[in-house]
């Protein structure tokens, strides 16, 4: 079927507008900073501290998300029970919460004056204004990205594979580890990448719950905001690093999906 010519023009113009609008700000980051400036700003102590802190907190939080989130997602994908829709909705809720709400919520829950604040303190754990608090904030905002994707990945696995392994005498735990995880791996990896991207960019909840202190709680996004009014060049340099990291994560997801993620209708 041929589309009328004007419609093709509308499509092309729309794409051109979307592409320009979405890429010009990113291009601005790289045009605004010369490579030499970029490297010298990154050599600065505060920037290195922020990068190192972001790397550490993100890694720890992703590890926690994988260890707890994978079995949880498998349960949700493999069982049906009363109230499952509610459980899934509650788990997905942080996806749509504004970061500022996440920050307030964490303070109200595990902050010193929060509902569980006493218990946290009694356990000898200090969260607010500490690196551990950053990890809590990152985990809270980014885990739903992983769990959601992991659920979908497990649900898409052909049940007969698991059934076959069980017929051969393998326990469910063994089937989960040896069959389900390997088969669902591409989906799990892309869920991890999404969570990683969200954690790296986390700003509001971290600032409200953990504060901003160089080397302790000041992650890269907080360092960018801190430099915004006084040292725009170094804010640009740190932004450029985040753009590069995020692009690398996105490309990795596309690679894992073997190009399928690029989408498009196949020729019929």
């Amino acid at each position: 079927m041929r589309r009328p010519r004007w419609f093709g023009v509308v499509l092309a113009v729309s794409l051109a507008i979307a592409l320009t609008f979405l890429t010009v700000p990113v291009v601005g980051i790289f045009v605004g900073s010369s490579p030499a400036d970029l490297i010298s700003s990154l050599g600065e102590r505060g920037s290195l501290d922020a990068l190192w802190l972001s790397l550490r907190t993100t890694t720890i939080s992703i590890a926690i998300i994988l260890i707890v989130g994978t079995p949880a997602a498998y349960l949700l994908a493999s069982r049906s029970f009363r109230g499952k829709a509610l459980v899934v909705t509650l788990i997905e809720l942080p996806l749509v919460l504004p970061p500022a709400v996440a920050g307030i919520a964490l303070l109200a829950a595990v902050g010193p004056a929060g509902i569980l604040g006493g218990a946290v303190e009694a356990a000898g754990i200090e969260l607010s204004l500490t690196t551990a608090g950053v990890v809590v904030a990152l985990t809270f905002v980014s885990s739903p990205f992983y769990v959601r994707q992991a659920m979908a990945a497990f649900a898409a696995v052909d049940r007969s594979l698991l059934d076959a392994s069980r017929t051969l005498g393998a326990s469910e735990a063994r089937g989960f580890l040896r069959v389900m995880i390997p088969v669902a791996l591409p989906g799990l990896a892309s869920g991890m990448a999404l969570a990683l991207g969200r954690a790296l960019g986390e700003f509001g909840a971290t600032l409200m719950f953990a504060g901003s202190f160089q080397g302790v709680t000041q992650t890269v996004p907080l360092a960018i905001y801190d430099r915004f009014s006084t040292d725009f060049d170094s804010a640009l340099a740190l932004s450029a690093v985040l753009v590069a990291l995020s692009a690398a994560i996105l490309l990795a997801v596309k690679f894992v999906h073997g190009g399928a993620a690029l989408g498009g209708w196949q020729a019929e």
Partner: protein, 250 residues
């Protein structure tokens, strides 16, 4: 939507907001966030006396200054320092600014805190939150700490647990018990209605915190704008500022 909003800059912040009679003259006032309570209280009286319709737009002084530089349609600019109005005047963006109020840097602690002077901040384990060096509250704080003996200054800064990008972050963390002490303006403490209390700093440590305002050069209503600025030093708005804890200009 956000992008469009950013592109036309201040238009988004100052053009909306309801109220005011249709026949009255519209006056757009950009004021530092710390004056929100006071100016919101006195604006209706100004409206009534001058048959005007004052539109108040509150944000950080530096942000408001940037909006005026980008051509936002504003009549009055009132900032939390004198540096920004002076800079705008030098650049021909506002008429000669006037100093209209002072604020006071204080040590803020929770209502039930045992901390009662700046000397207590050196105790290890005290959680202190201060403003980041890039914002006015942070530079006033550093100015004050610089007047202390080097050992004391070092011990206090060693207890700093967060460099917040604005005063709200400091007060919020104090009120939530996440921090034990912080440096803020006395007016911010008054606004918490007792949750947080202020401890006065010794006279010799107090920085000079002076607020400045001016009529925007391209104001649509220069006469009315001048009247509003005058009203910040004398009249209902001046009274409202004093009630909120601001001091008169010496």
């Amino acid at each position: 939507m956000l992008g469009a909003c950013a592109a036309i800059a201040a238009g988004c912040g100052s053009d909306d907001g309801g109220g005011g009679g249709s026949a009255s003259t519209r006056l757009v006032v950009s004021a530092a966030a710390s004056m929100k309570e006071a100016l919101t209280a006195c604006a209706p009286q100004f409206d009534k006396a001058d048959d005007a319709s004052v539109k108040l737009s509150f944000a950080g002084s530096d942000e408001l200054a940037a909006q005026i530089r980008q051509g936002a349609k504003v009549d009055v600019y009132a900032a939390a320092n004198t540096k920004l109005p002076d800079q705008l005047h030098t650049d021909g963006r506002i008429d000669t600014p006037v100093k209209f109020a002072t604020n006071e840097l204080v040590l803020a602690v929770r209502g039930d805190s045992r901390i009662d002077s700046i000397d207590d901040l050196t105790k290890s384990g005290t959680k202190l939150v201060i403003g980041s060096a890039s914002v006015p509250i942070g530079s006033y704080t550093r100015e004050t700490l610089a007047k202390l003996p080097p050992d004391q200054k070092k011990a206090i800064l060693a207890n700093a647990r967060s460099n917040e990008p604005d005063v709200k972050g400091i007060v919020g963390k104090l009120a939530q018990g996440a921090a034990d002490a912080g440096f803020v303006y006395v007016t911010d403490v008054n606004a918490t209605k007792g949750k947080v209390k202020a401890i006065k700093l010794p006279k010799q440590l107090e920085p000079q915190v002076t607020y400045g305002a001016g009529v925007v050069s391209k104001a649509a209503q220069p006469g009315l704008a001048k009247k509003f600025v005058d009203g910040l030093t004398q009249g209902d708005c001046a009274d409202a500022l004093h009630k909120a804890g601001f001091g008169p200009v010496p």
